[in-house]
Symmetry: C2
Subunit: 314 residues, 2 copies
């Protein structure tokens, strides 16, 4: 099996009763600064505040009744954990989320507020994998990986599907890259529905495993990513790397200061709350204006779950 | 002449090509906290970031060609100045905005960015009136008062008109009260289009001239309002006071801390940026839950022009 246009279309139908068809927004001010015609897909206004609801609902709703009954689990220090908790609650099944002890308080609260159980582990990859194995063995629940999962990828692709329906004539579609789930779904949806449009992934310089992997055509994970864009610290999997090689036209990167500036510009001009990861595509566009000059570009604003007590411009 | 349902309908038609039909938003989380079914009219997503664009466009577009040619002027330390500047620019006429020297930098920049001239004065009522008189005498421009102006009131009423169209079955409509322009337009529109709905004005305790005036049925201006809700420091005029007495069912007030909490709740749950004044209706509802318990309530979020470097929860 692989992720196809059909699986994205099926995902869209399946999750439609559970997620928002988020609006798109535009800003003359941002367009003037970017020298392009940008259409923002507001997944910060998605349920639980991020596009991750799409993939999680698709994965949870795709389980057989028998599998679903045993529940679901994942590891996530971010939005995927809350999304899985929400989807599990709506299906009426239990969920466990492995999180490092040092995960941000609001992220843990979100998972618990949706009724899932947080399983703490030490903040290392080995500890996380061990904790996840233990949860799986103990509960028999289904593991829903944050991005290395075809149902999750198909679900994430529904954001681009809607964006392309909402904004006619896109010449490029861009989104941030963490583990590559959103990029994969976005790329497949765009190839299918807006065949002439360029697919552009964007990444912080401090977590540029996808840019390196794309350039060298060799999967090159990063062990110590450093970026304020906490949703983008994961590295590509073999699966998302392959999809990227087959379907993505360019990967742009941005320094940290540009991410903060772009985040602030979005808050000021669009009057919406987005998290740092969501500002990475605009930052990368403003850092690499020639990539989209004069073009009509769809930009996926991935989420809005930010700690209001720790804003980066304080 | 007086403000009527017809003048609001006419205003809506006149300004439609120039302003956004802003969306409405809802939040299960806020509804659970409020114990009511709240529909937020997002005027923070209006052009220049506030409902004030509506009144300013209606006033500027309502001028005869001859009057318009001499330009417009006003006094405002807030959104009305920027709104008038924007409307004047789109009509191609000059605008002057009298502002106290100590007005917030971003507010001055906004007025200048829209091409109007800022005229500074000392931060007293007498100095402001003297400066405004001087501008009027020198330029022959038309004075567009921030709220004591029937075209402005009719324009502000178009927000409630749209809200009532967008949200069927409202049992109450609420907005903040500064000088009473928005409240006047909202009350007249609601009486006309949602005759059974209660009209509820809301105000900070530290700027409660409308609450006092409503209770005593005697116009009682405040000379030293103190509130973080900088858009609500003005006092009612005789005109807006009369409209309030005839058309408003209740005035609720809120302490400062509740305004900050409500502002933060809106940012967190709706993922949108609103200024303190815009949070006053929700704050007043949460402070006076019995006023709307179980009801479907339209809430006008008035604006989103906030200084991101001076957030109240820092």
């Amino acid at each position: 099996m692989t992720v196809t246009a059909e699986s994205i279309a099926r995902a869209h139908e399946r999750i439609a009763p559970h997620v928002h068809r988020t609006p798109v927004m535009t800003s003359r001010r941002i367009d003037a600064i970017a020298g392009a015609d940008l259409v923002f897909k507001c997944e910060n206004l998605q349920r639980m505040g991020a596009f991750k609801a799409r993939g999680a609902f698709n994965a949870v709703l795709g389980l057989s009744a028998e599998d679903a009954a045993r529940g679901v689990y994942t590891h996530s220090s971010g939005n995927h954990g809350a999304a899985l908790a929400l989807a599990a609650r709506e299906r009426g099944i239990p969920a466990w989320v492995v999180m490092p002890q040092n995960a941000a308080g609001p992220k843990q609260s979100a998972v618990e507020a949706y009724g899932a159980e947080v399983v703490h582990c030490a903040p290392t990859l080995a500890a996380r994998e061990e904790a996840a194995r233990e949860v799986g063995a103990r509960t028999g629940a289904a593991f829903i990986h944050p991005y290395d999962n075809e149902q999750v990828i198909a679900g994430q692709g529904t954001a681009a599907l809607e964006l392309i329906e909402q904004a006619a004539g896109l010449e490029a579609v861009t989104c941030p890259i963490g583990g590559g789930g959103l990029l994969s779904g976005t790329a497949i949806a765009t190839r299918w529905l807006a065949a002439g449009a360029r697919v552009i992934g964007t990444e912080p310089e401090g977590a540029d495993d996808a840019a390196r992997s794309f350039r060298t055509r060799t999967l090159t994970p990063l062990t110590t990513p450093e970026t304020i864009a906490d949703g983008l610290r994961a590295s590509l999997s073999e699966r998302t790397f392959r999809i990227m090689l087959d379907n993505v036209d360019a990967v742009l990167t941005t320094p940290e200061s540009a991410i903060v500036d772009a985040m602030r510009l979005i808050w000021t001009a669009l009057k919406i709350v987005v998290e740092p990861s969501a500002a990475v595509p605009l930052a990368a566009i403003l850092e690499n204006p020639e990539a989209v000059a004069g073009k009509r570009v769809g930009v996926i604003l991935t989420g809005g779950n930010v700690d209001l007590d720790a804003l980066p411009w304080r």
